[in-house]
């Protein structure tokens, strides 16, 4: 059992557990599951500067900020105490492709060859981390939710706009991962 917890969890265990976050938050206090809203609450709390979109009582949503702080803490616990430290196992095809770009370190879940404080100052690192992050923040809010809010919560509640959003998330990802990323990784 302990050994099993230390291994990566298969999809049929981790997927349903993620799905259970939906009823958990609803029953704990009538909260609909989502993460990207926390980014908006940070804006509303720290720099609303008269923008009407950030002019609301963010304290009503403070639960969401507490929730995301918990996510970071939970990840720390999982890495420190619940991980075997084995490298991430991915498809051999991906390993072969990435080795062509000099990416060979699978010891952590983010490729250390790409995401570190030194590469941040390179064009490649800047595009991956800063431009990528900006698109995540801008896009999720424009779409009205992220993978949690639309793809899990919205689809669970049978909302067709959430299906449209999910299809567009995937379409955008397919385009960039297959057509654009190869050029960025060559930088």
């Amino acid at each position: 059992m302990v050994k099993w917890i230390m291994e990566p969890w298969p999809w049929y265990v981790s997927g349903p557990l993620i799905g259970l976050m939906v009823p958990l938050l609803l029953l704990l206090g009538n909260k609909t599951f989502g993460i990207s809203s926390s980014l908006r609450h940070i804006c509303a709390a720290c720099f609303p500067v008269g923008i009407s979109f950030f002019n609301y009582n963010w304290r009503k949503e403070i639960w969401n900020l507490v929730f995301v702080a918990g996510v970071a803490a939970g990840a720390w616990i999982a890495v420190q105490f619940l991980s075997s430290g084995a490298p991430v196992q991915v498809s051999p095809k991906l390993v072969q492709e990435l080795s062509g770009y000099g990416i060979n370190d699978y010891s952590s879940q983010t490729p250390k060859d790409l995401f570190n404080w030194t590469t941040l100052l390179s064009l490649k690192g800047f595009v991956l981390m800063v431009v990528g992050g900006f698109c995540v923040g801008f896009g999720t809010r424009y779409a009205g939710g992220c993978t949690s809010g639309h793809s899990i919560m919205g689809l669970s509640n049978l909302q067709w706009p959430s299906l449209v959003a999910t299809i567009c998330f995937m379409a955008g990802g397919f385009i960039v991962a297959n057509l654009v990323l190869p050029f960025i990784l060559k930088l």
Binding site: W9, W11, S14, I18, R40, V71, A73, W76, F138, G139
Partner: protein
């Protein structure tokens, strides 16, 4: 010209703009009650790491159709959530504080298409959606703090440009 519209808006109307995720509760509790959400967040963070959903490698695999893993995770999460929401609606079960569970339909907006695509671009680059951004920082990838700040900046710029964007 925005001013008049803003004045007639209730706080709830502004707060519920462009979001699925919302506090629907009318009850007021002491602040320490929020510890429930800290614990829920910790559980979610552990699951995200153990599922490897936070891994840039796993996201690249997904977008290259090289592995079933991510599709299995998201698919089984959605099915579980659907069954749970169905049961909650069918039985009318109350929250632990005895409140009725509120689930409102979300209207369609063109933002779900344009914004959805833009988020997809960012997801493939960073290998992280918002949940994993927080989880990655906790997992020790401190440089992802920069991506998080950038995501906050992206959200802020959206708020600034919102009146000019098609919806």
């Amino acid at each position: 010209m925005q001013q008049t519209a803003q004045e007639t808006n209730t706080d709830f109307e502004v707060r519920s703009l462009d979001t699925v995720c919302l506090n629907e509760s009318q009850l007021v509790h002491p602040a320490w009650y929020n510890i429930k959400y800290l614990i829920a967040g910790v559980l979610f963070g552990i699951i995200l790491v153990k599922a490897q959903v936070i891994s840039w490698f796993r996201i690249q695999e997904m977008f290259r159709l090289q592995s079933f893993h991510m599709y299995g995770v998201i698919g089984s999460a959605v099915v579980t959530g659907m069954i749970a929401v169905y049961i909650i609606k069918k039985t009318g079960v109350k929250t632990i504080h005895g409140e009725k569970v509120d689930l409102h339909p979300k209207p369609f907006s063109k933002g779900q298409i344009y914004g959805g695509l833009i988020f997809g671009f960012g997801w493939a680059l960073t290998g992280a959606c918002p949940g994993p951004l927080f989880a990655l920082i906790g997992s020790g990838a401190t440089v992802i703090l920069v991506s998080l700040f950038s995501a906050v900046a992206g959200t802020w710029v959206y708020g600034l440009l919102r009146p000019k964007l098609p919806h």
